[in-house]
Symmetry: C2
Subunit: 325 residues, 2 copies
Amino acid sequence: MNLDMIEAAAGRLDGHLRRTPLLSSPFLDDIAGRRVFVKAECLQHTGSFKARGAWSALSAMDPDLRRKGVMGFSSGNHAQGVAWAASAHGAPSVILMPADAPALKRANTAALGAEVVLYDRATEDREALGTTLATERGLTLVKPYDEPLVIAGQGTVGLEIAAQAAEAGVTEAEVLVCCGGGGLTSGIALALEGHAPGLRVRPVEPEGFDDVKRSLAAGSIQSNNRMDGSICDAIVTPRPGDITFPILSRLCGPGLAVSDEEALRAMALAFLRLKLVAEPGGAVALAAALLRTEEIEGDTVIAVISGGNVDPAMFNRALTSYGSA
Amino acid sequence: MNLDMIEAAAGRLDGHLRRTPLLSSPFLDDIAGRRVFVKAECLQHTGSFKARGAWSALSAMDPDLRRKGVMGFSSGNHAQGVAWAASAHGAPSVILMPADAPALKRANTAALGAEVVLYDRATEDREALGTTLATERGLTLVKPYDEPLVIAGQGTVGLEIAAQAAEAGVTEAEVLVCCGGGGLTSGIALALEGHAPGLRVRPVEPEGFDDVKRSLAAGSIQSNNRMDGSICDAIVTPRPGDITFPILSRLCGPGLAVSDEEALRAMALAFLRLKLVAEPGGAVALAAALLRTEEIEGDTVIAVISGGNVDPAMFNRALTSYGSA
């Protein structure tokens, strides 16, 4: 897994994926006490960065294998990414999804052309289920994060951040990334190592589901004790990946963790100040940038909003609780 | 008022204003029955296109006059644009604002550095009040739409649409623009006349406040009967401008009008499918694109979301009514 693979993915993505904008607001700068830039990856096709990794994987597949179909397991964003990229490549797709995933994500995944198969997040082993299903049907599994082609696709976010930071005159900053299994975070870290070495990545997770933070602190892979109970469904994963963790360990600063309420407050601020829709798991990096200011170094912070696939009821909760200017 | 002035404004805006993205979603294409592109001008600085016109006017002012200060009258978006552009140019600003403007717009305008003066939209003549205030304090009035420098700034949206449509391979389309006094609409129409003659502009207004639609149909300037009672506060104006109307009349197709409920439904769809926050008046063009499909010609429509400065309660209303996928 290296920078060349990310640059090759950028070539395959060109013309199909969006170069999402890097936004800012003086109101957010005031809250954070430093300059805040926001990479609005919620504006990506399918509403999250996952479309990049899925496109990267699909576009690099052997055409005969691709024609047989692909499979993904995902709480929803990877699912939509795989369904979208598969449809665009003329490939069937099957998505294994937890039964408690937001209704919007389930509906979108089906509407984008995938067959959706549900499982119980608390009691069933999705990796084993997925492998069985893939074998039975001759499908190729597109892993959500621990897969070099997927990491390479997500890393194109980092190439864009490097270019956009340079355009904004930013050469030193902490780059906060919403982190589940570490595909986006490790991809961005590799891209920045090559193109913007003054930008340091820091993973951000939900409190109580901070396996990456604890793994970085321990120097070895640590697991979460549980898989349910967070509103940040998009980034709750059992543990960092075997491919992603060594990259994170080598390149990232310490992890951060925020509460569900902090994520909701960041969603309300993204609504008010950026006119963006962020989902809870996609807002944790912005939450840390705005609300954990004493844990961040330097005069500039870049936060990735990684997704915006949130049910209206949850969005209303954020606005009702924290929508007053 | 001509294309050269828009291109000159683009030069003054370069590096200060955002090139907002042109977005799309297969879900919106399905609803409309044709390709839909959305110019996400709600992502502009201050949350609306008004920052462009204000910057265009401020950046072209005589520095001595500018130092004395500027004045604007506005329901809120022009206000924020003028306050933001004035602060960036080191100029004081006074904003005359209707007392029923959304709380968020009032608060933002003050926070951006302006002095806010309130008036009654139903009983007071804002033009007369503004002229008096400007004369008394030596302020230069920045009109919200019937001013060539402001139209030139708004017209830069049209330059971007022309370039982005070409990048997307679109050479023929109807371009729906949320229309109040016609500054944005006439500016875009002039820009497209020069750079994308296959793209035809059509103004979109709230039902009951469709002065531009009726003026175009009559061939002469018509007024609205009332100024209150719409949730689309951003685009309720007494009548088309003396400068904007001849441009609209020469270049635009027939106007469209949508209901408040249609605007709310478009807001919910922008939330669900684009992850964008649109305000009611900023959503009328998207509403027409998605819901008045039989009134639109051709296989491609481009809708401008002109602003996103909406109070949380109004946004919740849109999601509660129309947020189910």
